[in-house]
Symmetry: C2
DNA sequence: CTGAAAGCGCTTACAG
DNA sequence: CTGAAAGCGCTTACAG
């Protein structure tokens, strides 16, 4: 009896050209052809019809156990693998999804997108799906390549990350009834799986206010992004709740980039040198702000505390390590993938998920300077650890998903 | 006359279910069906055979200009898009490549791989190829999914990044005659496109030695990697050339990670407190080393200079910004993609490319402390710029590719 | 429970 | 220069 996991055998010799007639030889008592084995050969060898092999392949309950086992054995013996082009051409599904990103330079090198992509790929792999990578460059959209993805049968669905209200082409998917889900973004009433930016902003501002900061700035980005607007809203509300009136001069656009974050921090500090804390809408802008503050002679966190959003892997290795709102981007990617498949199968017709965040307290935040000075005399100094420890705050892991 | 770039028209109404008989109506004088248009309908409308449409589609020179134009117009009018599953099933190519990465956690969030992936995707898009993402997890290899990529006709070729001599499964591609190219790695005699790590190491060590450093450490990684071995070789040779004997105690494995880099720096500095410069085999380890040095009370670069390899985007935004060997990873990905296509088409049967590097001088390097002290008195201080400037050294852009 | 046959939408010799 | 026909390798009603 053969072991359970018989590996497919490779017919290594290919003396015949691709167009030569299929030459079959008998070796080890098994029929082996020099070309790829197809379903017809399996059928012949197992003495059943091609239809039966197909049904076995697709685990149809209509096939008797005996027949199924016999066919299965033949499949293993011959090392048969169904041609997925033929499967998809005849069948309903391509078993592929596309990830569509904005037209940023070297977009796939961005750690934010990388987390989402990793989450999607891992989950897709487990579901038997392949993932292709696409970027929405202007010419791409003009040529309607995003719709072509479906029309030419490349994919069953698309996962979009990094888009906002301004990306009007997103509506094309809805018009074509093409399954599409936004990951970590909301646009109109489209399907989405997002991190809870409101909750994240609350967690960040609770920490900042608790540390005694009263002059708190916001480096925002892309007012076209619904999640970014939510952060701005919570920022205004939480300060108001603490008796601090909203001041537009304390907010600046950082364009989601490190350079933009540095530039925004510079404008803010020049306008309001009394700022003692800055909340940034992502880690890159937060790190850019730190960079500016340090090169302008300020100490982070003693002079100014910084809080970001994302919790990218290298944010823990910055100096100082970054206090930030952890966004479950990897999980959002995976969940979007799963829901998208259910959507493709018609099991659900609406995707709307909201994943909880938590704050990761690291070195870039401290007491407001005025409190810090008071506490200084009463406190002992401890050496900083080599590897930055992180403290998790406000985790809502009981799953308050919408 | 219709404009040149007529967009395909969508039959927006789908009152008929998917399985309803194909309903054709006439609107605007054009035949429009509620289902996807296929090649047969184009042929009927253009009053030619299906074969002719196919030949027009594939720009065969055997079709007369008049016929070609007429068919082309019908294609535009009907908004016909060939089903690529059918094209690939009948034809020779899938028009897809796979990117295969090692089984690291969240591998796609890694900026190093991200640069390579971006380079591949951009070039593949221009070549009309799609790119799918795969990860070589243990079970994946055990199930021979990497070979299945070809056997089940998912792809025409595979681009591998991040592997080394220990990844024995790479040989499977050669046995199956499956086109595969290694990006930024060499293994045995397999096809590859690499950055010139020898040149990079020379550029880094030239700079370090010129700054007067004599006690120079190396944080290496993966001796199974041929490129990493090359850096170690050049390190030993350049020091020897400068009259500094090789000392194993000055080298430590950093496992290619930031944590590993920090740990390696700690071991090195405890063993040899006199070290004034460290060369790390990648940026992550370099940034980890900086992190350790700073938290242990040392100043980078005044006490210890650090040089990395990669030039990742965020390395320019570290504090201090990182002096590093720029690896043309984006370009390597693109070139590998291009060569792989030539290999698939049988135009070449061997890929071996070597791309030049250059050093980017930033803030993490300075004169050796002893020289620095001497120079101190004679030098004026300048304030550091907000955005770190970079100085490019040793660029060999005249293309000395092997 | 299984088989014969039509069909998915293309490409590619082969004829003319 | 163009067409009729076979074929790529599957799936899916439809019969029995």
């Amino acid at each position: 009896m053969l072991p359970d996991q018989t590996l497919p055998r490779e017919a290594a010799d290919s003396r015949n050209g691709a167009d030569a007639p299929r030459a079959s030889t008998t070796r080890n008592g098994l029929k082996i052809t020099t070309d790829r084995v197809n379903i017809r050969e399996v059928a012949e060898q197992a003495k059943v019809s091609v239809a039966t092999v197909s049904l076995v392949l697709n685990k149809s309950p209509r096939i008797s156990r005996a027949t199924s086992l016999r066919v299965q054995k033949t499949i293993n013996d011959l090392g048969y693998q169904p041609n997925r082009l033929a499967q998809s051409l005849s069948g309903r599904y391509t078993y592929s999804f596309a990830i569509l990103l904005p037209a940023l330079r070297h977009a796939f090198a961005d750690a934010y997108f990388g987390e989402i992509i990793s989450g999607i790929c891992d989950r897709a792999g487990k579901m038997g799906y392949k993932v292709i990578l696409e970027q929405a460059k202007p010419q791409y959209i003009k040529d309607r390549k995003h719709v072509e993805l479906f029309e030419r049968r490349f994919v069953d669905g698309v996962l979009c990350a990094g888009f906002n209200d301004k990306h009007r082409f997103l509506a094309d998917f809805g018009e074509c009834k093409c399954p599409m889900v936004l990951v970590d973004n909301k646009v109109a009433s489209m399907d989405h799986v997002v991190c809870d930016y409101r909750l994240g902003a609350e967690q960040a501002l609770n920490a900042i206010l608790q540390l005694g900061h009263r002059s708190v700035a916001l480096i925002y980005a892309a007012p076209e992004s619904q999640t970014a607007r939510q952060v701005a809203e919570v920022y205004a509300r939480k300060l108001a709740d603490a008796g601090i009136p909203f001041d537009k001069a304390l907010t600046e656009d950082g364009c989601f980039t490190d350079i933009g974050g540095a530039a925004a921090a510079e404008k803010l500090m020049k306008r309001r040198p009394d700022i003692t804390a800055i909340l940034a809408n992502n880690d890159k802008m937060a790190l850019g702000a730190i960079r500016y503050l340090q090169t302008s002679g300020r100490n982070v966190p003693k002079d100014v505390s910084i809080v970001g959003f994302d919790d990218l892997q290298h944010s823990a290795f910055a100096n100082p390590s970054l206090t930030t709102v952890h966004l479950p981007l990897y999980e959002a990617g995976g969940l979007a993938c799963e829901r998208l498949l259910e959507r493709v199968h018609g099991k659900i017709d609406r995707i709307s998920e909201n994943l909880p965040t938590h704050l990761v307290l690291r070195e870039s935040t401290s007491l407001a300077p005025i409190l810090s000075a008071a506490a200084e005399s009463a406190r002992q100094r401890e050496p900083a650890p080599a590897t930055p420890g992180s403290q998790r705050v406000g985790g809502h892991d009981d799953g308050n998903r919408g």
